[in-house]
Structure formats: C-alpha cells, structure tokens
C-alpha cells in the first residue's frame, strides 16, 4: 500500500478521502453473496418497485463496508481501525456514485494507544450525506 500515516502528521480538521465507489447491480449481487444478505430490494428490480422504491437500493451495510475501506486505506498497514459506526439515513440508488469522506475531529493518547477520532460519511452527487458515522483509528508514531 501507499506510504504509512503517522500520528504526528495528523491534525484536527484534516480531511480523509474521498473514496468514490460506483455500486452496480453486479456489485450488489456480489455483496449479497459475500455478506449473506439476500433481501430482494437490492437486486430484483420488479420486487424493489413493488415495495414503492424507485429502483434497487444499495445495502446500508455495504456503505458501512465502504467506510471501513476508507478508514483502512487511510490508517495504512500499521494503523488499526478500532471502531466504526454509522446510521443509514438516506437511500442510495444502484448505479449512482457513493462518495466516502471523513474529517479528523480529535486526537489523543489513551492507554499508550495513539487514537484519532474521525467523523465519516457517505454522500451522493448532490452532496447529501446518506450514511453519517464516526470512526476511531490507532496510528503508529515515527518514534
């Protein structure tokens, strides 16, 4: 992977990402199989329409996983993702970009661990945050 991020180089307000994902119906089927979530609103268009949705929608948990990727990419090989949390506020439609972003909100040392707290979210092309959340990562020092 790319160069390692160190605790000393992180500042509150620092931006994370963007990681842009393009969920296709193929990806939603792969996710359904890999995660064992076979609810038809995510891949069966007729079923999705029959429930009143405009189209199949992206699994909330897939968006959580995208945010996981955002944070493991940012933390690097020697960083550890300690916590991840998010709520599924808005729908994302298959075929539309899901943009993952974050921002550092706090850094502190706790029990010898160099912790960085971040606000994270996914947004759509209109800039609406559909999956707001937070994360804590532990980073190495240059030491």
């Amino acid at each position: 992977m790319a160069s390692q991020l160190f605790f000393e180089n992180v500042e509150v307000g620092m931006e994370i990402g963007p990681l842009v994902k393009h969920p296709t119906s193929r990806q939603l089927v792969k996710w359904a199989g890999a995660s064992e979530d076979f609810y038809e609103i995510h891949y069966d268009k007729d079923f999705a329409l029959s429930t009143g949705l405009p189209s199949p929608i992206v699994h909330g948990r897939l968006k959580a996983a995208f945010l996981g990727q955002l944070m493991t990419d940012w933390a690097g090989d020697k960083g550890i993702v300690r916590k991840l949390s998010c709520t599924y506020r808005g729908m994302d439609i298959v075929g539309e970009d899901v943009i993952c972003k974050g921002r550092v909100t706090q850094k502190y040392v706790e029990d010898d661990a160099n912790c960085v707290e971040c606000e994270i979210w996914t947004e759509n092309r209109k800039g609406e945050r559909t999956t707001p959340g937070s994360a804590i990562v532990v980073l190495p020092t240059r030491g």
Partner: protein, 159 residues
C-alpha cells in the same frame, strides 16, 4: 403499505417482543477461510493486499491474511444471519445502523463464534404509526475464547 395483521395480533406480538428483551439469544459459528475473505474484498472492490496476498501480509508481520474489520458489518456476522428470531408486530423492517468495535486482529483460519442478543427495545410514535427500535448486541469470540469484536445494530420495525 397496508398491514397484514389485525390490531389484536399486533398487540399480542408486541407483548411477546417485550418479553424477549435481554432473553432472546443466538450463537453462530463461522470458520473464516481465505476464499471467504477474497470474495468479501472483491465484493466491496477493495484491492488492499492485506486481505488477499498472503506473502505481503506476512511481510508486514500480520501472520497471515487479515480479515478486513468491516467483515463484521455483514449480515452474516452481525445482522439477520446471526440474530435470534423475535416476533415483529409490523410489516416494514429497516436497518437503522450499527456500531462495531474491533479488539483483536482476525485472520484466515480463525473460527469465530458470534453470540447475539436483543438488548433494548424503544417504542416511539411516528407519523404513520408505531415505530420500534430494536438494539441487538453481538459478541464475537475466536477459537481461543478471546473477544475479538463487538457489534451493536439497530433494526427499525414500522407500522
């Protein structure tokens, strides 16, 4: 969406659901192998070699292919797949979100036992009727009985 149950049935199911809080439990055992992790990484389209390249993972001292933390975000590990069945009075079910805490690294070859419990039920009055917020907590232990992760997830049941 019209409801399929009578008011009396809804009331009875809600009563039964309330009785399940802090009681309903379920455990699921998952043996995590390399191909499961590869399929997962390919599904999210994450090319990180930590999840797929054994040599690379060993070089950085992980001891083997690592499980991406967000593997615990799947339905299989912390969602419907491992939760106890509880009576739900209303038709609409939504996933509200979740919190995941990763305590120890998990690698290919580990066997994870996930034990889920309904820990909280909140009842609210929404625009279209009653809303129930069910919080499930799942503890994930490895084959050495070490707690490797904790999950909390909210399911919303709407009238």
């Amino acid at each position: 969406m019209s409801s399929s149950l009578s008011e009396a049935d809804k009331t009875r199911l809600l009563e039964e659901l309330r009785e399940n809080v802090n009681k309903a439990e379920k455990s699921v055992v998952v043996e995590i192998d390399k191909s499961m992790i590869r399929r997962f990484a390919q599904a999210i389209e994450d090319p990180n070699p930590l999840w797929q390249d054994e040599e690379y993972a060993k070089q950085i001292g992980s001891g083997g292919i690592l499980v991406p933390p967000e593997f615990f975000c799947t339905s299989m590990m912390s969602g419907g797949g491992c939760r106890p069945e509880v009576p739900l009075p209303y038709d609409r079910i939504l996933d509200g979100g979740g919190d995941w805490e990763f305590l120890l690294p998990v690698k290919a070859g580990d066997t994870i036992t996930s034990s889920a419990k309904l820990v909280e039920l909140r009842e609210k009055q929404g625009k279209s009727g009653n809303m129930l917020f069910l919080t499930f907590e799942t503890l994930h232990k490895n084959q050495h009985d070490e707690l490797v992760a904790k999950s909390r997830g909210v399911t919303i049941n709407l009238e």
